[in-house]
């Protein structure tokens, strides 16, 4: 049971200890708090958990399976797509939602999909390249 006045962001971070989900404004402006709900990007700072009963929520902690990093996580690490790492969880999850829907997206589709998540460190280019690298590697569609 979660308190009715708490946002999904607060429940994840404060009650469940899943601090991989971050916050940049708590007003739905920066997408730093992005998680996946039934596989689709969702702003946890604007979501009330009571509205999400029975739905599947994925945070960055859920991206790696059996101790293995997701190909996107590996590509982000390899190419330096995470600098301070603060927007990274939301960026990774948003990219995962894209690749799950479109395993080999064009650069334009990547830019479009990630446009809502703000990053101040990288200039985005390494992030695009990391998504492309993850997509190019085999096995991505199977995950």
């Amino acid at each position: 049971m979660v308190p009715p006045y708490k946002t999904l962001l607060e429940v994840l971070r404060e009650d469940m200890g899943l601090t991989g989900t971050k916050h940049g404004c708590e007003l739905g402006e920066c997408s730093t708090c992005g998680v996946l709900v039934d596989g689709k990007p969702f702003l946890s700072c604007l979501s009330m958990p009571l509205d999400l009963e029975g739905r599947e929520i994925t945070t960055v902690e859920g991206m790696s399976a059996d101790g293995r990093s997701h190909p996107l996580q590996i590509a982000f690490a390899e190419l330096g797509a995470a600098q301070c790492g603060y927007c990274t969880p939301a960026m990774l999850l948003t990219a995962k939602a894209l690749l799950d829907r479109d395993p080999h997206p064009s650069r334009e589709a990547i830019m479009e999909a990630l446009a809502g998540v703000l990053c101040r460190c990288t200039g985005y280019l390494k992030i695009f390249e990391a998504v492309e690298l993850a997509a190019a590697r085999t096995g991505i569609a199977a995950r």
Partner: protein, 787 residues
Amino acid sequence: MTPPADELSIVGKPLIKLDAFSKVSGQTKFADDLAMPRMVYGRLLRSPHPHARILRVDTSRARAHPGVLAVLTGDDLPVKFGILPVSQDEEALAREKVRYVGDPIAAVAATDEWIADEALDLIDVEFAELPAVMSIEEAIAGDGEPIHGKSNVHKTVALEFGDTDEALRAAAHLREDTVFFEGNTHLPMEQHAALAQVAADGKLTLWTSSQTPHYVHRALGKVLEMPMSRIRVIATPNGGGFGGKSDIFSHELVAAKLALVTGRPVKITLTREEVFYAHRGRHPVLMKVKTGFAKDGRITAMQFQSFLDGGGYGSYGVASTYYTGALQATTYAIPRYRFEAVRFFTNKPPCGPKRGHGTPQPRFALETHLDKVAEELGIDPVELRLRNLPKPDSRTVNWLRITSCGLEACINKVVEASGFSKRRTSMPPGRGLGFAVSSYLSGAGTAIYWNDMPHSEVQLKLDRNGGVSLLCGAIDIGQGSDHILAAIVAEVLGVSLEDIQLTTADTDLTPIDLGSYSSRVTFMAGNAAKAAAEKVRDRLFEVAARTLQCDADDLIARDHRIARRTRPADGMDFAQAVQLAEAQGGVVTGTGSYTPPKLAGPYKGSGVGPSPAYSFSAAVVEVDCDRRTGEVRVPEVWIAHDVGRAINPTLVIGQVEGSVYMALGEALMEEQTFRLGLHKFPSLLEYKSPTALETPIMHTYLVETIDREGPFGAKEAGQGPLLPVIPAVANAIYNALGVRIDEVPITPDKVLKAMHDKGKRVGPKAVPSFEFPPLIHADVPDEWKGK
């Protein structure tokens, strides 16, 4: 001294950043991710007025509110502080006066954040409003009560190196320009946060998202009136800094005080709106530049004036003021130079250092100015720069010592790669190419507190299993300083990155590093790490040489082995060497320190500008302008950066691309502006910053000059590459549309206005009349005498 690249196994390689997997898994613990048993939450009450006297603060209703544990006002923290010793003008909570909307007045600790918020509404403050000073012009006019002391003038500078008036009179060509650079802010994705805890013995620990834990440590000691030995400051990894977390902030002092008062851990996390008030970002600067040229385009003299809009407090402002005039002469060979500057207090959030600290504004002025001069002289803008290049191993007329200089190589790279010279005269309609260059420091040569102690220190301890503990005060703000320190030590000791265990930015455990600002960490902490590693390595070589019965000079450390250079089979495991050394002399440790050479020139104010080495950058920017809407898109950028040596090229390219991105935001959209004393858009939605959709194709070229002073030849990368991009955008817009936007940011309304303007220009017409103090005529280095 510096080994050739093929002898290096870690330095120079694009290896995965040490903490990359911690970051991509979401495991990195930022300040607000920390929680403690019995932790309570602090919130700050901030001023709704830009300028007002505080007549009365009544906290009785807030104190009585259920769940509230403590309420503080200015009287609880009366000692003033400030980042610079000369500007101790801030109070943790304002006592008599508020100086900007957002100035903290009172603080609450409560069992829940929302209860603390409710309690803020129950604090009754009576103000007497004062006329607000919201611009440079209003600050000069000085109607009403000054913001501090007797005048709104915070700092003035008036320096002259050689007789500039004489040279300008004799110049074959003369030009004067007036430009304005609006303020903007860092906007790190992580809001500032601090958590304070007091142990049973009264010792205070503060975890904080800070670029400068050492200075926070000093300020806590001063303001709380506690010995620094009873305070421990631990900087948490910064979720972006860009200079915005390099000051001492109210919430850090208040969290500490609340923890002392309540006896419970107290966390304060700023809201996004509060981050805009915390600010310390880019100063709005109005500038006038007047330069004389010989017929062939060589600069004969320059006079530069800056008017800085400083906001409500001093912050780094004295340094910022000098920085608006310091690096003109490291980018160009200027034989005679006059620099006059003034910083005013205004009723806005205090300005301070943002990426490039005080130098993007004059860089914008200078590079657009030279572009105009090139056209007047009929010289290619690239050629004009090439005729005025600074020399390697030289002193500028204002005494800044240049070691390596790869500016010419940077220029050649971007000009060739972009086809600048050929393409710019035949661009399709609305398209344009712009060019600009810059230089930046690799760490300030003079520390904030003038003393003889090192600026950076590293301590190493070796384990019997071959592991290496590395302790350093530096904090990773996303730039990868942890990786750089580990890479340097691993390279020297011949071990892998995985063998290095880092402990950083903990005032109880780590030796001092002054902080992650001023582009100093790779250079200074890197030099300290290298010195420490070499000391430890030499000790291992000594014992290994005895066992191997060879000369220590014949040994190399590589691939976890210490072996003879001449007979590689003769060697031992690294761990075995550690065990031998430990058996013979006890615990194997070593320290290294770095103190920059004393480089300041013989004049007052010479402390700002000297650096042990300067980086250089050149950029070409392509724009695509919409004549109908005035919108400017940037499809492609070519940038070259002289980094000395890239210790990790992936990280350096990351710094360059991030700089280009931030520069484009500043050039085209970002501004921190005010209406009726209020910030116009203190939110991430309305403060426009570039998204993924605005990302250009970026071509990054690293130029390696192997600087003799840098660790393995490295210089800075984090700030310099931002500098040429902003003026290159303005120059490209001129190339595309024939209009000059002499004002940053270059928003669509300004482009449209300029297209309809008779002079095809938008920008300030003149600088206000202001009487600078009498010029200090400084001596010039011998090489410039009589020039």
